[in-house]
Subunit: 154 residues, 2 copies
Amino acid sequence: MDHIDRALLAQLQEDATQSYAALGRTVGLSPGAAHERVRKLRESGVIRRTTAEVDPTAIGGAFLAYVMVDSTSWMGDSANAFAAIPEVLEAHIIAGAASLLLKVRTPTTEQLQDVLRRIYAIDGVSGTQATVSLETFFERQLSPTTAEPTAGRP
Amino acid sequence: MDHIDRALLAQLQEDATQSYAALGRTVGLSPGAAHERVRKLRESGVIRRTTAEVDPTAIGGAFLAYVMVDSTSWMGDSANAFAAIPEVLEAHIIAGAASLLLKVRTPTTEQLQDVLRRIYAIDGVSGTQATVSLETFFERQLSPTTAEPTAGRP
DNA sequence: TTTGAAATTACAACTGT
DNA sequence: ACAGTTGTAATTTCAAA
């Protein structure tokens, strides 16, 4: 993971459809070398997958809400229950007031209510607190050019 | 936007590297027709871009926190100030207690503190409240196969 | 890094509904 | 007209030298 790998990642985040020739040109590598680097980044799991980023409003995700979930018991093993609700896009265990933080997208507020009802039905959930997004400024990925984890060399 | 388009979107979300031939095979279309459909989905903006999904821990994003931002004034035009902080991955105006909700990734807790300091420095910000994620169950995209926005037939 | 064969994409002209 | 099919040229991928 040197600066060339990071440049490749930044390029692929922006546009994963470009050819290895174009990719190599911008980072100063031959097409073959660029190809091999990217292959290794995929293999090692640094690149998890290449995916089409779909406009949420076009597929029934116009409403965005974050939901804090209170619980009566340890929710550390309840990932599947939340994953079973397709409108729940993220689920995190959090430190603080509630036990879980969810990101939810629905086409309408009615559907949001329905999702909250389904969340309530999960065993151990004692309460929810939804925060609706009125406007999204931006949603982006972390840039690889940002500061390193300052990993100590072994 | 019919069921074939949605199937194409679902496929491309999973793996955007597959050929139009393979794509067409799974949705029951010739490679040319699949290509044309995808081209239109791109052109119309339903597919925003195709991107490499990078493991955040590999590029200095091991820590995840959500930050509620209180403000003394209307923050509706301050998108650029938050976008200028690369560790801020999402920024939403929210209905509720605070004015803004941010998603932040940093390599360490020290760096998180530094980001909070930079957020504080933004004009109008009167307070922050960070919620740290201890464990992420999952982070995924909205599936196109989910319920429609129930568009009224004209 | 370069090379070259195999595969894929992009773009025709054509066909049927 | 419109969306899909087939065929073809130009690129691109990818393994081997």
